[in-house]
Amino acid sequence: MTEEERPPDHLKQAGPTADARILGQILAAQNVVFALPDSRRIAEFYAQLLTTIPGISASRVCLGGQSVPAGEMASGVCAACETRHHLAREDGTPLPTAPGFKCDLADQPGMRGIAIDSNQHHFGFFVFKIDQATLLDLYQPFLSNLSSYVALMLENRWQKDQLQKAKNELERKVEERTHELTAANEELSAYRGRLEELVRERTAELEAKTAELERMNKLFVGRELRMMELKERIRQLEKDMNP
């Protein structure tokens, strides 16, 4: 081969290369995660996806306390997995990210795992059984990106859920307080009604007493006038008798 015929260095093939179609599949799978409503379905979906990656013969995705397999894979060690038990017990509340934590299944010979970690939480693992390590090596960085993407989406979803829960709690408290205020207002309104009733009763009593007093007053004034008339009459009679 002459110097001119020799391919340039950047075109020399050092070994197998990643298949663009597989890379496209990994990228496309990122878009689907948004439509999957829960951890179970996400785990089922990605377990299937992983088995289509060259170099992987079976897979298991652990997420939210569930471990979903695709293909033949022993998983006896998963029974003792603390994370899984914790997540199942805590109803999917993720654990804080712990860099030292390992998946015992991924540590077995012929297996590999990628943690599904955001910078705050550990959500689970992609675990796969390898049948051709050199092929898998081509895709592992992209699967690692995919796990980060899934973790980021789960983190966002979790934070959104937390916000929603906080909002619901706040709304519940506002509703409770409104209820208390309404009850207090109603009580106050009842007191005011009773007070007004009392004022009306008292006013009526006072009016009755005033009327009675006026009647008595008129009676006394009438009697006084009658007395004055009688006195005048006596005085007139005395005058007539003793002119």
């Binding site: 179609r21 496209g24 599949q25 990228l27 496309a28 799978a29 878009n31 689907v32 948004f34 439509a35 999957l36 409503p37 179970r40 379905r41 996400i42 785990a43 089922e44 979906f45 990605y46 377990a47 299937q48 996806l49 979903v68 695709a70």
Partner: protein, 212 residues
């Protein structure tokens, strides 16, 4: 429309050239409503014969969606341009799902649309009926694959809706493997998870044999 023309002038739910079989995987009604009404409206505005196979959506709701999308639906329904059919009646006319029969009906609907001067034939179906105990319903993936095999001859446009709250994740993955296009965040995009029909059928056959 060429791929180049489509690339420069596409709307979000404009079907690209060569795209005939799309899937929509959704987990919220708002998301579905927007996509479905735009998809149907595009077909009607382009003068296509449009059919909707409804499983859980009521005809009233669907009409309301289309009215909101600016489509005058009464005239289209009266003229037979648009029709709403119960999914079970469309897919299982004799109480049983037979993929080849449904595909034959699709082909004849396409031929009829061509003859009547429509610009195309478009359908949109809710697939939740396959989860019910209907004879043959478990063959729905075979049906989805076989549509891809006839579509070169009968470029029928169809969108299959899968509610992610009802189907498991593994099934949804297989659903994506049998649709060459998918709706991703409100846009029709080429689906890299799609695999060749023959390849998928072979896998399906193998998994059936494994179960036998």
């Amino acid at each position: 429309m060429s791929q180049q023309e489509w690339d420069t002038a596409k709307g979000p739910l404009e079907v690209p050239p060569g795209c005939h079989h799309v899937c929509l995987i959704y987990d919220s009604e708002d998301q579905r409503r927007k996509t479905v009404s735009e998809y149907l409206a595009t077909g009607l505005n382009q003068g296509e014969l449009v059919r909707y196979f409804a499983d859980t959506t009521s005809p009233q709701d669907l009409r309301a969606w289309l009215r909101e999308a600016g489509v005058e639906i009464s005239a289209a329904e009266a003229d037979g341009v648009f029709g709403i059919v119960k999914a079970e009646s469309a897919y299982c006319p004799r109480g049983r799902f037979v993929p080849r029969d449904v595909i034959a009906t699709m082909v004849s609907r396409y031929a009829m649309a061509q003859k009547a001067g429509y610009r195309g034939s478009r359908a949109c179906g809710e697939m939740s009926w396959v989860l019910r105990d209907i004879p043959g319903a478990d063959h729905f993936l075979e049906y989805e694959v076989r549509i891809n095999m006839i579509i070169e001859t009968f470029p029928y446009i169809g969108m299959c809706q899968y509610d992610a709250r009802l189907f498991d994740g593994a099934t949804l993955f297989k659903v994506l493997q049998v649709h060459p296009y998918m709706i991703a965040r409100g846009q029709i995009v080429r689906n890299p998870l799609f695999i060749k029909p023959e390849e998928f059928l072979a896998t399906l056959e193998m998994s059936r044999e494994g179960h036998d």
